[in-house]
Symmetry: C2
Subunit: 342 residues, 2 copies
């Protein structure tokens, strides 16, 4: 029936000389070239309601709060399972969580994590999953900046807070001992932090890991189209993402480098590791950023996971692809960050 | 009209709970995030006749010969333009072409090129475009093995010839001074050569560059499906590729490592650079191989070009993406290959 139906659709398409770019959901077989955990994620299909994003400020806040409750529910067990401790503090006025693995040896190196969520999701503790995984699997001390977000705090509040925490860290830790990492919006903020550090005359971090970065904030780049309906996390730019972009940009030009770091001058960046997946809506964001770095002579490394949609590497702590990701990040930062001078 | 039509198709799809995987041709906008040359390639759409591959041995031979004539026609001008000389010789019974840039300085390093073409295309001089570009842009001496192919010579004729040339090169050049590279089938053969060198007790080449390798010979891997009809070079596994696979494998198990090197044991491989594109039908082949190498601790590097379909980096010598590719290969081999001991 599938093939019969495909024939029917093809016939209709031939008449009109066009084909649908959406409506591709669930059409592709679940690949047997990924882990069982990732197969399950892929098999779950497109999330309901992706095409009904919040519209009013109240709807956004309710949606963000509901998502945060879900995100937070799993975190205590995750910390327990991975043997990660969490402490809460404030740095330069910004709420901060610090994560450490139980078997942690302090060699002076630390990581600053900027979480994802389109500058709207993941308030408070809710966005700390990636930080926990990095501490627990990658074996680093991770400082997590709970930066301000839209709709209440549009650009540049989020990156201002990240910069404030980075400046504060520099008071006790040399830049070359500090790595910065994040995913999606956090992957973009990782790059923007380095752009701003350059512009503001601060020393740059010793290394950056930018996972599937929102490097181009508006809908520009091939995979926004080719992976539309293939990525089953974001699904499409025209879901909640477009609204979040608009809320955070607040009328600023989305092509500006501090919103779309793919347009920034990346000469002099430290070693940078980028990560994406073949189904990722942000595959183009990632590879464009990677090529831009390579063209500027930056030692930039790329990993693309088979079958992975946007940011799925931090969504199941048992998934081999995800464990490999955090192990690779651990190796990358250990190779590229300096240790404390004794 | 496009959107109207999309709506119609979506409505039909909703009734049947399936969507077409083909029929996606020309649907996606040509991205403005790639060079004008690549935009032109993307804009050219799906090649006519991709779904009418040869059936009989005679049809294959006629198709291969016609393709070879077309391929060869442009080569003298390309060599002239890039200032590359070609000499023809025979090594260990295998016809060989040697390419050198005019401003070549012999430091003892050389590259062995294994051309692409599904083990059927590119006989004689016809498959030398990539070798010319590597010599002219990457500034290396390139030895090109004109290995035997299907339908007359199925597995293992092609890789046997490549091994024979490699063994011959080892008589005058240390392995650590030799790089091996190729695209598509040649990218797979590059990896298979290293697998066989290991198995046969030969020293491994100093570095490998495997462009969009046919790492999995049968239709297994996510992008065989997700990029079907998106890639406008190969279009689909179920065009001529399936037939070529069958002709070369000749009844051998396509999962065997010497046909699908993604199934090989790559421990101990030298530094390896892999290249693909976001629209590449072999994106999964490439990233699966990359991850396999990384998991084995091999220093493996990946470049994925925005908007690129299969192997397009060697199809236009003026295209910035292609020039960058060959410059990167040049840097990669210069970094990783030893020079002659003086």
């Amino acid at each position: 029936m599938h093939y019969l139906y495909r024939g029917l659709v093809s016939a209709v398409l031939a008449l009109a000389f066009v084909a649908p770019s959406m409506g591709r959901e669930s059409d592709f077989p679940v690949p047997d070239t990924v882990s069982p955990q990732l197969q399950a994620m892929i098999g779950a299909g497109i999330p309901r309601g992706w095409d009904k994003p919040p519209r009013t400020t109240e709807e956004w806040k309710a949606w963000i709060a509901a998502a945060a409750e879900k995100q937070k529910a799993a975190l205590p067990a995750l910390r327990e399972k991975l043997g990660v401790t969490m402490t809460h503090t404030v740095m330069a006025g910004v709420p901060v969580f610090v994560f450490e693995p139980r078997d942690f040896t302090d060699d002076g190196r630390l990581l600053l994590n900027l979480h994802g969520g389109g500058y709207v999701l993941g308030p408070g503790e809710a966005g700390t999953q990636e930080a926990i995984l990095m501490a627990g699997i990658g074996k680093f001390r991770v400082v997590y900046a709970d930066y301000r977000m839209a709709p209440d705090f549009p650009y540049p509040a989020a990156i201002d807070d990240a910069m404030a925490v980075y400046r504060e860290l520099l008071k006790t830790t040399p830049a070359k001992n500090i790595g910065v990492f994040g995913t999606s919006t956090g992957g973009a903020m990782t790059l923007i932090l380095a752009l701003r550090a350059k512009a503001e005359g601060l020393p740059l971090p010793g290394a950056l890991a930018s996972g599937t970065p929102w490097a181009q904030m508006n809908k520009k780049g091939d995979s926004y189209f080719t992976n539309e309906g293939v990525d089953n996390v974001l699904v499409s730019y025209d879901g909640w993402l477009a609204g979040a972009a608009s809320l955070y940009a607040g009328g600023h030009d989305m092509e500006a480098p501090y919103l779309s770091p793919v347009n920034g001058d990346v000469h002099g960046f430290p070693p940078t590791l980028l990560t994406s997946g073949t189904r990722d809506l942000f595959l183009s964001n990632t590879v464009r950023m990677h090529l831009k770095l390579r063209e500027a002579g930056v030692p930039a490394d790329l990993i693309v996971f088979e079958g992975l949609s946007h940011a799925q590497y931090h969504m199941d702590e048992n998934m081999p692809e995800g464990r490999f990701h955090f192990e690779e990040l651990g190796r990358f930062f250990r190779r590229n960050l300096a240790e404390r001078q004794s």
